[in-house]
């Protein structure tokens, strides 16, 4: 169940990113946190979903033949960073955004929306 939720949220974040941009990540995750405030580990689920959404997008591009790995290394070298840095950042950044937003959504939602 957690796995399915994670996957579905990842799809939601991916669609949000494609249609609206990066800032949809915390918005979708916040909504998720509020909606599923009673679920277990909403923040961790959202964080995983964020990473899966963006990482999955790159993975699909790679499967389609896009030179993701080569370009990532060149991008890293251009920014004087280790080769893995762009990939890691692309996973961590949405994960942190989504995790924090979902956590806040769940906590605040739990305070004001939950029935006593």
């Amino acid at each position: 169940m957690v796995f399915l939720r994670t996957l579905m949220l990842a799809v939601g974040i991916a669609i949000g990113t494609i249609m609206l941009g990066w800032w949809s990540v915390p918005v979708v995750a916040l909504a998720y946190g509020v909606a599923l405030r009673r679920s277990r580990f909403p923040a961790m689920t959202a964080a995983a979903s964020g990473a899966i959404a963006w990482g999955g997008y790159l993975g699909l591009a790679m499967l389609g033949g896009a030179p993701v790995v080569r370009f990532g290394r060149e991008l890293a070298a251009s920014m004087q960073l280790p080769g893995w840095a762009p990939f890691t950042a692309t996973l961590i950044f949405p994960a942190v955004l989504a995790g924090l937003a979902a956590y806040l959504g769940a906590r605040v939602g739990g305070r004001y929306l939950s029935s006593p």
Partner: protein
């Protein structure tokens, strides 16, 4: 869930922090959100790395549909119904591949780099503005009549660029914009003229005045004039002078004179260039070769033409290949500079042409008399005060904030600069009103070589170029084309003139009939490689000075062409990277002679014998595995250092200026000249052979210390002479560095400035009934580092190979296997 205020506060702050960094960046980090966004961010580059099989775009202003076919080399073949449509389509396809480069290069000429890259570019922008480049471009545009063809072509090109920008999603924007946190700016017709100004600064901002004046300050006027002569001591000019061999003119070098305090006082009036290095000769930032062979000397019986302009090696490359077809009007293939609405070097079905830089002196300085040294408003001309034009220059940062404001003053000659409480103005042909667009578009309609040169000369102004052309009828022709100033009393351009009188001003320009030129010479070939264009014995007036020319590559081309009476297209290709060097041949003779004299004296160091043996075995070729070339170059630098010690200002370790290697070679004829004496060795008076032998032995010892024995393999030329093809922003990951290449100073494929300059486009053309052409450049068509077309041509370029150029006569003459991608551009409403 339990309500935990502190945890919520912490999470809120953390989310706010991450969101802030995501939106605005932090320190050197770009805004992480848009940057890492896998759809629109930097990763977007991978999604647009390949050309789509087919695409359809609407372009406002297009008169009729334009079909574009990208061939297997990524070259767009544009089939349009009018020149304007072709220019519009060219703007679109170039922007599609090179948008960031276009903006960067245009901003370089406009002095607005800070708006793209930030405050780090203030000094570069300030230089462009104080040279008057943005104002010059604005004046040129204003001088175009509203309905002129050139203006319409510039506007059409801009329309094509902007149509691409308008239709592109942020995902398609070049990755550099995302790294800089910027978005593409709209393209204006002015930007193309800014780009021309930038090229003008690259090719025609020569500062011989300063070199000679700096030398004069240290060794006196007489010696300075001899060290920095107007005429090159080695003569094999562009306009053949009837001689079958190069001519060495005797150079009389008077002994060093006393320091000249007047020159010392004047020196600060001239802008300081880059400090001279320790090289054997002045380091050229640019060079170029072109030559043509008449049918009588080609195996095929058709005229042949070769061209390879040498410029800064960058990724993406300075050039973009394209083919424009307007039935009955235009059918031209070649390279364009992204941002310029036309082909600069290339060929039609009838004529091929290429350019090298003339090196003409087209910049003069004037010492102005102003009404107020601190804040001048007027300047004196012919005993009357004239108002100075004031132009406020505002430098803005990436988000529009004002970084700096200054004022540039203009006299009728050009911009003024304040140097040491004096005001000096400059006149420079690059800033004069001119129409380069017409020059190229007019000339491309020519059907013969001489017609091409005539049409080109009608509008072309600056930077002066040696234009070579060959045609299908077998004619070959060359002409140094540009506007060459006529100075008062036939004087040269190496003095700072008195600005208070109009008698100091240029009285006009050379008539075209006086330009250095030749048509179908008896020798059966023509060649230019930045040598002095015309033999001084035939020159009508001062054109430039020795330090702006370079004789060696021309000598090598002429040697190769004289030796081959049946030249093929492949010979032409091979010559472009020929590793032979007349310079090495000539200097090595003196080195070996000096070594044998020193060895005979019996007190030579062991290193001299080893060095001499190595030079004796050296084939004088700059091949990648060669071990002799490095020794020779190191030794020659040592000779310059020891010989020109008189040019060290007292207490300084950097030479005031360095005479050309032609002057150094001419000095070889006088083995006892006082210039050979190294004054730093007070107890010995050296002659030529002592200096050469000492430099050779020292070079060997130095290299042995650095690299071990010559047999170690570390003396190989390819390990030290590598090409550095740097990304335009210097980004390491997007650069191609340390590429071993064949060639060195004085060879046809020069490797100079630590390898960052070199052959930027190589083309050879055979003008038979069907034009046959080969070409390549160090880079690729795409400016997208993720694309396989980004640097795919480097492998050909580094080995001196060329690719066969596909030149379809019509849209349907391209076979399906030759087409990589289709693009249809249709008229769209505004």
């Amino acid at each position: 869930m339990r309500f935990r205020p502190l945890a919520i506060l912490g999470a809120s702050l953390a989310l706010a922090g991450v969101t802030y960094v995501g939106r605005s960046g932090a320190g050197p980090l770009p805004p992480l959100g848009p940057f890492l966004d896998p759809v629109r961010g930097a990763w977007g580059a991978v999604a647009y790395a390949a050309l789509p099989d087919s695409a359809l775009h609407g372009i406002p202003g297009l008169g009729a549909a334009v079909e574009v076919r990208y061939d297997t080399r990524g070259v767009p073949h544009i089939f349009a119904a009018s020149e304007e449509d072709a220019a519009r389509a060219l703007g679109f396809v170039v922007a599609r591949d090179r948008l960031f480069q276009m903006e960067l290069q245009a901003r370089s000429g406009a002095g607005t780099l800070t708006e793209l890259v930030g405050a780090a570019a203030v000094s570069a922008d300030s230089e462009a503005r104080h040279l008057g480049m943005p104002r010059g471009a604005e004046q040129k545009l204003a001088a175009f009549p509203a309905d002129s063809r050139s203006r319409r072509l510039l506007e059409a090109y801009a329309g094509g660029v902007n149509a691409y920008i308008d239709g592109a999603s942020p995902a398609e924007w070049p990755v550099e914009y995302k790294l800089l946190g910027r978005r593409p700016a709209r393209w204006l017709p002015l930007h193309s003229l800014n780009l021309y100004a930038s090229m003008g600064a690259t090719l025609a901002l020569l500062n011989g005045e300063r070199d000679r004046l700096a030398a004069r300050a240290v060794v006196g006027d007489l010696a300075a004039r001899a060290l920095f002569p107007v005429e090159s001591p080695i003569q094999e000019p562009i306009q053949p002078n009837g001689s079958a061999t190069p001519r060495l003119d005797v150079l009389h070098l008077p002994p060093p004179g006393a320091q000249d305090s007047a020159a010392l006082a004047l020196l600060p009036l001239l802008p300081r260039g880059a400090p001279p290095g320790d090289d054997a000769e002045v380091s050229r930032h640019f060079a170029s070769n072109n030559w043509a062979v008449a049918p009588a000397r080609s195996r095929s019986g058709h005229a042949l033409l070769a061209g390879d302009p040498h410029l800064s090696l960058t990724l993406p490359s300075i050039w973009y290949e394209a083919h424009l077809v307007v039935p009955g009007v235009l059918d031209v293939y070649g390279v364009t500079i992204p941002g310029s609405p036309g082909v600069v070097i290339g060929f039609t079905r009838d004529v091929a042409w290429s350019l090298t830089n003339t090196g003409a002196d087209v910049l003069d300085y004037y010492r102005e008399t102003v009404d107020d040294q601190a804040s001048p408003r007027r300047y004196m001309l012919d005993n009357a005060w004239r108002d100075l034009e004031r132009r406020e220059e505002v430098y803005r940062g990436k988000v529009g904030q004002v970084l700096r404001v200054d004022t540039v003053l203009y006299s009728h000659r050009g911009p003024l600069q304040r140097l040491n409480n004096e005001w000096v103005s400059m006149r420079w042909t690059v800033n004069e009103p001119s129409d380069l667009v017409a020059a190229f578009f007019d000339a491309q309609r020519a059907t013969t070589a001489s017609q091409f040169l005539d049409l080109f000369a009608r509008s072309y102004f600056a930077p002066a170029q040696n234009v070579i052309a060959a045609d299908r009828a077998g004619n070959i022709a060359i002409r140094s084309t540009g506007h060459f100033p006529l100075r008062p009393e036939g004087g040269d351009g190496l003095a700072i003139r008195d600005g208070s009188t109009s008698a100091s001003d240029w009285s006009g320009y050379w008539p075209v009939t006086s330009y250095p030129q030749s048509l179908n010479p008896a020798q059966g070939f023509l060649a230019s490689a930045n040598q002095q264009p015309i033999d001084p014995q035939q020159a009508p007036a001062y054109l430039g000075y020795d330090a702006a020319y370079e004789p060696w590559r021309a000598l090598q081309i002429n040697r190769l062409l004289r030796a081959n009476g049946r030249v093929t297209l492949d010979d032409m290709r091979a010559y472009q990277t020929d590793p032979g060097s007349v310079r090495a041949d000539w200097f090595v003779t003196y080195f070996r002679s000096a070594a044998s004299v020193s060895l005979a004296r019996g007190n030579a160091p062991a290193a001299l014998k080893a060095a001499d043996s190595l030079l004796a075995a050296w084939d004088r070729r700059y091949t990648i595995g060669n071990t002799g070339a490095l020794l020779f170059e190191t030794a020659l630098s040592g000779v310059a250092r020891r010989t020109w010690d008189e040019l060290l200002p007292p207490g300084d370790s950097v030479r005031a200026a360095t005479p050309s290697s032609g002057v150094l070679f001419a000095l070889m004829a006088d083995s006892a000249s006082v210039w050979w004496d190294d004054r730093r060795t007070g107890d010995v008076v050296e002659d030529r052979d002592m200096i050469l032998a000492a430099a050779l032995a020292s070079a060997y010892e130095t290299l042995a210390r650095q690299h071990g024995a010559p047999s170690s393999g570390k003396w190989a030329w390819g390990t030290s002479a590598t090409a550095q093809v740097n990304h335009l922003l210097g980004l390491a990951g997007f650069s191609a560095r340390d590429i071993p290449v064949q060639g060195g100073r004085g060879t046809l494929n020069p490797s100079v400035q630590n390898g960052a300059y070199g052959s930027s486009w190589r083309m050879v053309v055979e003008l038979g009934p069907t034009v046959r052409a080969l070409g390549t450049y160090p880079g690729g068509q795409s400016g997208n580092p993720a694309s396989s077309r980004y640097a795919d041509r480097l492998r050909f370029w580094k080995d001196g190979d060329l690719e066969l150029l596909i030149v379809p006569v019509a849209l349907d003459s391209l076979t399906p296997s030759q087409v990589q991608s289709r693009l249809t551009l249709t008229p769209a409403g505004r």
